[in-house]
Symmetry: C2
Subunit: 185 residues, 2 copies
Amino acid sequence: MAKSMVGNSRIGISPSVIVGAVVNGKANYITLGQYSGLSMNPPMVCISTRKAHYTNAGIKENGYFSVNIPSDNVVQKMDYVGLVSGKDTDKSGVFTNFYGAVDKAPMIEECPVNMLCKVDRVVDLPNYDVFFGEIIETYVDQDCLTDEKPDMEKINQVLLSGGKYCHVGSECGNAFSDGKALIKK
Amino acid sequence: MAKSMVGNSRIGISPSVIVGAVVNGKANYITLGQYSGLSMNPPMVCISTRKAHYTNAGIKENGYFSVNIPSDNVVQKMDYVGLVSGKDTDKSGVFTNFYGAVDKAPMIEECPVNMLCKVDRVVDLPNYDVFFGEIIETYVDQDCLTDEKPDMEKINQVLLSGGKYCHVGSECGNAFSDGKALIKK
């Protein structure tokens, strides 16, 4: 396979998530493509957001943020809250807000999965704040459960691939299983 | 929409990536579902890997790792290198290795996208090392380019959704565009 060196940009699909925070006493949301799990135990995630964003101060002040996983019903609104800043635009009414154990980060009724996160630390990069958060509570729409467990097919998560929002497609393997055939006894 | 609180686990799709490192002088690989972009400028990513893993010492010693984006041709091998440890198993011959600007992290010929990363810092979590890396070089298979740009459709990235490896599916929106219709003039 011939390879081309194409610079040093990141290429690949990202989960696109809507991050909720309370900023200046109001619910605010921002869309981020820089989000990952970090740890199973304790359950931790990170988000990375440009220092210029309005949301950052609210997360630092309140010590909480939420991660809301989008399905295709919220694509247009997700894109909108990523385009306009809370500095100029009140985004508190874009979604139906709800709150969990603490009222320090709003979550989105219209998203099938919501995770309330407590800030563990903030890692300072040149132009970004990287927030590490411990998941305190995870909410799932009841109609996205099968046998009381989250069902990824029903959740129907939307991803960011290049400049397109995309559905998940067909299965092509079983994790922690397909590779067993290659283990030499 | 009725919600259920289902504990505090992370729910959602992850990019599954194969991370390359030189460990004890040999190419070694591990599969991780904890990977994200952090910054566009400089281009940075993070990976999080359990402290018990064999790979961590090699990344720390050499100061480099690679992120290899899988397509469906490597699913079984990706799963395999995630199942067996370099402590017991020599994984240097599983893929066709190549090296970029430095010989401190192997990359995988069979993966359509490869990013050579220089460690920026290691963030210490209770059970995980979180490596922040600056992307030094990005390689793409020439047959995954269209007009010399990476083509996500040709790259055909595989994701991890629940316990399944999955293709990307149909488009459902345009990022940085669909939300414009909601902006009030």
